[in-house]
């Protein structure tokens, strides 16, 4: 038994991380802020990296990757705070289409020409509805939008639009999107913690870097521990969903709660370490923090996911012993 990522998965992760570090620095976020938030050149770059077609099966011309690899890449997209609708299109929309056997639009998706928006009752809005070629609901693929009104969002790089009546509540869409939201929060938390520690090394007060003070060290260490123990939970959820494990919804909910808690703590820690600088718009930290606020509420908020864990754990359906860690789950639904 080996629960580590494979060398191929690590190489894939590192290449995407490197590409985004180079092409999608914080300066991009500042440029997009107030300028519509989207840039076809960024989308094209993500397509050229293979991200738009990553989950399309090889016999349909894609890379044939699974939800585990998608979650690993979603961490990187969260780390870089990418705002293009790549996750909704390629990591949620395409798996939903494949599961339904809707392969008619795969050729256009292969060309990176289509953007998918997701409509679900769990969300009171639809992200990137205005640029969507397809709107995916529980039971239909709807066409592009007719000039929907943009809603005011806390995150200046999120583009949100009102819900539509046909959304429905496809559970696979919810679980996949919740998993990807959790993955992005893990990446964002990592990025914010790095910003906090980088700043603590250079900001000097009382004649020394503030990172040399134990109070600052302990804040950062506490956030790092929370994050460290959210990662394996996320990866386990991704594997469970990929394998259609009966406990996948429970594991996804655990991952969403763990990632939310880790990311919120990382955000608050990073702001605190930055002090008054962190309270300004000049420091880029706020883009990641606002993204975490958005993702924490999207695709089932903390209360929703905690209720699912509650129903399984305290509700009594779940065998709880230590020998059940990697249970097949065949014993319950």
């Amino acid at each position: 038994m080996d629960v580590r990522l494979t060398e191929d998965q690590i190489a894939l992760r590192d290449s995407v991380r490197g590409y985004l570090a180079e092409t999608h620095p914080a300066a991009i976020l500042r440029r997009l802020d107030g300028a519509g938030g989207r840039d076809p050149a960024i989308w094209q770059g993500l397509h050229d990296m293979g991200l738009t077609t990553a989950l399309i099966p090889e016999d349909h011309g894609g890379l044939g990757l699974g939800l585990l690899e998608a979650a690993v890449l979603a961490i990187e997209l969260g780390r870089a705070n990418v705002s293009e609708p790549i996750i909704d299109t390629a990591f949620v929309g395409i798996p939903v289409l494949l599961r339904r056997g809707e392969i008619g639009c795969l050729p256009a998706l292969l060309g990176g020409l289509l953007r998918i928006a997701l409509a679900h009752d769990s969300n009171p809005w639809i992200a990137d509805h205005d640029v969507a070629d397809i709107v995916l609901t529980e039971s239909a693929l709807l066409g592009g939008p007719a000039d929907p009104p943009l809603l005011p969002a806390a995150d200046p790089l999120r583009r949100l639009f009102p819900p539509i009546a046909e959304s429905g509540a496809d559970p696979f869409m919810l679980n996949t999107a919740a998993l990807m939201a959790a993955a992005q929060m893990i990446g964002a938390a990592d990025a914010m913690l790095a910003m906090a520690t980088d700043y603590a090394k250079i900001r000097s007060q009382f004649g020394q870097p503030i990172g040399a003070f134990q109070a600052v060290k302990h804040l950062c260490a506490t956030a790092a521990v929370k994050l460290e123990f959210a990662r394996p939970v996320l990866l386990r959820a991704a594997v469970a969903l990929q394998e259609d494990h009966p406990r996948a919804p429970l594991h996804v909910s655990h991952a969403k709660v763990a990632a939310t808690d880790a990311a919120m703590l990382a955000a608050e820690t990073a702001i605190q370490v930055h002090g008054a600088m962190g309270y300004t718009y000049e420091v880029d930290l706020h883009y990641w923090m606002k993204r975490v606020w958005a993702l924490a509420g999207a695709w089932g908020d903390r209360a929703y996911h905690l209720a699912r864990v509650d129903a399984a754990v305290i509700g009594g359906a779940l065998p709880l012993g230590p020998d059940e860690t990697f249970s097949t789950g065949a014993d319950h639904g």
Partner: protein, 363 residues
Amino acid sequence: MDSHAPAYRYLKTLESREGFDAHVRWERELAAGNWGMVTWPAAYGGRDLDLIRWLIFEEEYFRAGAPNRANQNGIFLLGPTIMEYGTAAQKSRFLTPMARGETIWAQAWSEPNAGSDMAAIRATAIQDGDVYIINGQKTWSSRAAYADWCFGLFRSDPASTRDHGLSFILLPLDSPGVTVRPIRQLHGETGFAEIFFDNVRVPAENRIAGEGEGWNVAMATAGFERGLMLRSPARFQCTAQRLVELYRAKAGTASPGLSEIVLHAWMDAQAYALNTYSVASTLQAGGKIGAEASMNKIFWSELDRAMHRAAISLLGAAAELRAAPGETDWLDGYIFSLAGPIYAGSNEIQRNIIAERVLGLPR
């Protein structure tokens, strides 16, 4: 486990004389079935199992309700240290009786003025021919009042300071010149002891690794302590399971908010298990764990305390009474959980280590 462990399920605490003796009987019963330390080579009383199989063994061990290990300082800390730094002669001399529960070990590191600041150690071991002459005092040594041997860290170069000039030396606690004075702990039992050394003569062959190399050996031991071995996840998963069962029984009268704490206990115990399987996979593939071990130690110790505090809250006024025989003694567990964030390097020290060695913050 199911045919042997139930008789040992509700022993008196390991910190009492009577409880300790019962736990040692369990050690011997385990050893009789060759289950004393399953990851060790068969030549030393083990079963040559890999770490993943050790985790599975631990899951079955705790699932069956088997008790905590009387020889945990030996098998989980000193054992792996000897495996890494000991000579062939030391391995065959010390490991087999350790796995068989015949020699129970205590750790003699802390001193009255060297707790978190372990490099402030003052007790000396001065070489005189082929023996060391040991003088000084150790303290807060768990179960030293009942143990047979101790592994200590002593200053072998009297001119040295801090982490230089220390040596890692093993000695019997009944050596002439050793005085063990029990210390009463929170729960009223005397599981702690001070150890006084007055010209105690110890053969030089009892030193692990070279003279003056004790600090590095001790850091490796501490790594085992904080990392994988000392607290396998099954223990916490069982506590979480019992906590969920207690919550179900008390849900009608539980204070609002406790359900979330109980759910977090279950989720965090799961997270700890998943992380441990990941660490075990890394180690098996030839990787190392470094300062990340400090994250482990913080996580399990604070989880354990939170779970026991939740249980105490659920019990309400009933928590004031000691548990009847055959019931989970949550108060005793809570008291023990308070030690978790202190022993094996306080969690404040662990946070410093994480900040400096994982996050790269300045010293």
